[in-house]
């Protein structure tokens, strides 16, 4: 197995507010890592630091064995790094991100949305961009909606277009930031299935979600984040079934207050 992402002593503050306090994380190629935690625990910020939508206050991030930025100093454990915007732009092009609110471009069709990255960023020839758009829209099951505008698609369909848009860049890593939190409950399943099929194909993914059942069944590793530190991490069975920390247990209990008997869904 090769190391695709290595995060070392990552800190992020917004003004006086310390959101991430020393995160260390290694993700192997092909792994699906699910990040759990209550709101305000720093899950989204952690995800957004990986593709430098947020610039870390300190700490080192290496992608595919290549550290990003130039290290300036390493004083008392704090790693200060200088970044060049042009390098970060290159990183973002190789890391796909899917947002809670889809953020599709409303003035483009599904096809146009998926073509946009390859066309504008990768500057591929038109024919190849079209081929990619077709491939990835078919992959998320929307071959018949290619020419629809986002406004005419359901939330689940919009999110699948957003996934196709990220995949069309053929990224080495995918980030999902609460991709199903804004969806009506009956549309959550189709999006989760799409993400699951990516996991099965060996896509490396970091997923922030509140869907614990999904986390349990697709994750190769689960992290529990609390107050900006990783409180617990390990295989789904260790973190979700036999958690060691009281905070993790409280969190899981909060998510499973009411349950249907299994018979109801069969």
């Amino acid at each position: 197995m090769t190391e695709l992402l290595k995060i070392e002593n990552l800190n992020k503050s917004f003004g006086a507010l310390e959101v991430l306090k020393g995160i260390d994380l290694t993700v192997e190629k092909g792994e699906t890592v699910v990040i759990l935690g209550s709101s305000g625990s720093g899950k989204s910020t952690l995800l957004r630091c990986v593709n430098f939508m947020e610039i870390p206050t300190s700490g080192r991030i290496a992608i595919a064995g290549k550290p990003v930025g130039t290290e300036r100093s390493r004083a008392s454990g704090r790693i200060q790094v200088d970044y060049r915007e042009s390098e970060l732009i290159g990183i973002r092009a190789t890391v796909g991100m899917v947002f809670q609110h889809f953020n599709l471009f409303p003035h483009m069709t599904a096809f146009g949305n998926v073509m946009e990255g390859p066309r504008t960023v990768l500057k591929l020839p038109r024919g190849e961009c079209e081929a990619r758009a077709e491939t990835y829209l078919s992959k998320v099951g929307l071959a018949d909606k290619m020419h629809s505008y986002p406004a005419h698609l359901s939330g689940g369909q919009q999110q699948r277009v957003a996934i196709a848009r990220a995949l069309a860049m053929e990224p080495q890593l995918m980030l999902f930031d609460e991709a199903t939190s804004a969806l009506d409950p009956e549309l959550v399943g189709e999006v989760l299935q799409t993400i699951r099929s990516l996991a099965d194909e060996g896509m490396t993914m970091l997923i922030v979600t509140h869907e614990l059942g999904f986390a349990y069944s697709v994750a190769s590793k689960v992290l529990f984040l609390s107050d900006g530190v990783i409180l617990e991490q390990g295989a789904p069975d260790d973190v979700l079934v036999r958690p060691k920390q009281q905070r993790t247990r409280d969190f899981l209990r909060g998510h499973a207050t009411y349950k249907l008997p299994d018979l109801a869904i069969t």
């Binding site: 732009i89 471009f105 960023v121 848009r165």
Partner: protein, 221 residues
Amino acid sequence: MEHIWDFESVFTNWRLLLIGLGNTVLLAVVCLGIGLFLGLFIGAARYSKNRLLNVPASVFVEVFRNTPALVQIMWFFFAFPIISPFRIDSFTAATLGLSLNTAAFCSEIYRAGIQSIHRGQWEAAKALGMRYGEQMRRVILPQAMRRMIPAFMNRAIELTKMTSLASVIAFGELVHQAKTISTIEFNPIETYTVVGLIFFIMIWPIAIAVRGLERRLSRHE
């Protein structure tokens, strides 16, 4: 006292009116073009983080938005030639005044339009790996432009009416031509009635189109 209406004397001077109409349209179109173009850069400069850009741009916008267009035109015609090496005719002075005035207002329309686009659009474009200019050109402006169109059309209406101010520096647009006709024919009532109607016929359809557009845009969002 009974006034005997004499429109005949206006229409015998149709050539003068036609020239005036041509000049009015020319001035309006040129100033709108320059205003739209300059406004984009002034708007961008005003909201740039660089103080060398944003301070002068803000001063420009505030000066032109808070002084009368008539004063601006007269200043460019009477004062500007004294402090500059150029000779300035009435068309140039009117163009300078009105296009800079329009640029100041347009820069604010651009700003409001761009700020109305949701943050998520910037984020999605950035996450794909787009540079700032690409985000703007491919994602933000195409959406913002649609929302700006009604405001720009209103600007065009205001500008068309403001061209009449150029009559004070003897630029041969509609109102100046009307002044000439009414002096020759002693028929100010009829001449200005006709000129008013010409403006109305030119501008009213645009105003109706703006209202239609605004209704259509609000339906889509």
